[in-house]
Amino acid sequence: MPQLPIERIVRRERGSRPDTSPRLASAATGGQRLRDQLNDLLALGPSPETAGPGERIEDCSCPRGGGWRPGARWALGASAQAPRLREAEGALVTYARTGNRDLLTAACRRARALGLAPGMPLAKARVMVRGLDARPADGEGDAAWLARLGLFAARRWTPRAAISGADGLWLDLTGVDHLFGGEEQMCRRILAFVRRLGFTARIAVAGSLGAAHALARYGHKPLIHCRLHGEADALAPMPLAALRLDADVLGAAHRLGLERIGDLIAKPRGPLQRRFGETILRRLDQALGRAPEPFEPIVPEDPPATLLGFLEPIATAEAIGEAAGEAVRRLVPLLREQGLGVRRLILTCERVDRDRQEIEIGLARATRDGAHLHALLCARIETIEPGFGIERLHLLAARIEPLPPQPIEGELAGERPASDLAMLVDQLTVRLGERRVHRLSALESDLPERSVHAVGPLADVAHWPDWPRPVRLLHPPEPVDHVIAPLPDGAPARFSWRGRSHRVRAADGPERVFGEWWRRRGEQAAIRDYFQVEDEAGARFWLFRKGDGEDEATGDLSWWLQGVFA
């Protein structure tokens, strides 16, 4: 069951897109038939059956997959080697420390096919499988992801949703399924949605929480639909573990030969209770719908918002600005009470003709400074078309972050209070647009065009090594011709660029830059030799030649100009 962790790892490494942002959808709830849906895990990568069998046989000394006969290797003379480990072939497991041992907590389908299972010591797994990809388990991250999905479900699918264990959700479908085209259709849509996120889910729909829990986890089908009042029949073939029992109760039942839920249903209740305690009967009753089970729905918190209605529609920029100021003044106390700051603010103007106009503002850092927010909104008011007038203003703190009370900056310590750059960044972002305010930071690359990247305006930056670099960089580099330069490593004595001929007075170089073979195959052998040259007028250029001048594979000896020094 616990393969949610695996899929999160796979998903993260694929760099898949983030969750769709939750939007509100609500529906009335009634309360009869509880339905449960459970997300399970799925397989990553090709399954063992599809991975070329030929390859496997070669690397694998075990009879799995056929083609191996005792003695065959003796005959081939390959037996000098000790029996080899199984190859991991991309099998992925997670582990966590329990006591003083590392135990597997999750294994992908491929790892399971190789004989690994959760609960197995990591050391043993490593002995069994060579090159096993084992990652530390991130239980908190998994739980947080599941909580996020639960929150989304509570907003999008049903008002009553709850977390079920470490890998599932309960959704109460009562009264909401018709909004999505019926139970069957709704479940398919949920499955498809989760699949797009990169996860595999199994869904069971049943009349009780316990039955849905058991069918989703032990039913081994992506979608199980339990008949009305058919829980007893559906559960009968399930193992006892499906009833959410403790390990010692399960052990005791196993010793007495009770394996299936059906065995339990057939037994008289009195002796069962005496021997196993009351839990087993309670769980059984809950699964069969005979006993109630508490359900703790996730309650989505609505973001702080204010709504202003006007007696008369307003249409002038001043009036809208004033109204926006009032909305901000009402929003700020809400934020302060909850200890929140805004990162994204949306002002929606509802016009008389039912049209909506929106201003959206992003902030570099969480804030609840009313004057600042108002100033940012006012800078955008000109983008609103009031038409025949605006009836209502809706101000929504669409993205919020915790913002505890801030100490007042003082000069007691003798230092000047650091000015708040975030406010300037917000102001410029509103004026110029997103992503146009940034810092430049170093990337670890020797190729000049790859050594710089833009980071957020308040992010930390990395510095470049102290090699001579031009002030302005031409990208892409421009070809220069009529170059006279001695091979293999002489600086050019003369070249012409953009139609002008330059005679070189002094030069420095070469600085050799190697292609980054790990990025592109074509760069495997590539070499650039960089020279700084100064012409007779004192202008300094940054030229490079492709190739090291000796081996043709490293470049074609063409000359390029990539930058200008001061």
Binding site: L424, L428, L432, R439, W464, G538, R540
Partner: protein, 257 residues
Amino acid sequence: MSSAFSQAERLDALRGEIRRIEGISPAGRADFLPFGIAEIDDRLAGGGLAMRALHEVAAAGPDMASDAAATLFQAALAARFARAAGGGQVLWAVTRRDLFAPGLAQAGLTPDMVLYAECRDDAETLAVMEDGVRHGGLAAVLGEAKRADMAATRRLQLAAESDGLPALLLRRRRKAEDDPLAPPSAAVTRWRIGCAPSAPVPYDGLGRARWRVELVRQRGGPPHEWLMEAPDAEARFALFAATADRTDRPAGAWIAA
């Protein structure tokens, strides 16, 4: 004796008066950032670059090398202002994306000091520069514009004056034969930077780059021209050493920023 002293005092007071009238800030040297080179500072009204003022920089020629020199001059001045403010931040309003940050870092403007704002046109550049100056928390504001008329520069100059921040504007030429410094401007100083052949070095390689730095106009002082050496990693300038027998020291006067 005492009368001569009072005469000097009176002259100082009169000079201060003139500066006040001309809009250069009234107080003493604290409002000016010296280059740290006596020959230059003596020529500048106030003994350095005014902190609360707009300064304009232009390339001497239409070629990219002079443009790069003017850019680096501007960057080094900004770095000096930021260092004088004790690790201040600099806002650079850019319209072209060919600035190469590793090169700027070598003139003392390290990446942690610069915030870039990408603007679409000159009007936006000037507006962003004004926002930056008005914010007041920066050490300097830089920009580049092809077209900035008297009203626009006057606006910037007034903002710089009232909020106590230096603004540095790189004037670009619209056509190769234009002189970017020909249109009038409210800038307190206007500089023209061009490349000059560097001094030969006794080894195989390049010495420090050399620039022809022309102070085309300054408020409260005459124009002048120097042969300067490019700024080092601490944004220190140096004057070209005319005498050849100073090889034990790198050329020019070295004074810590």
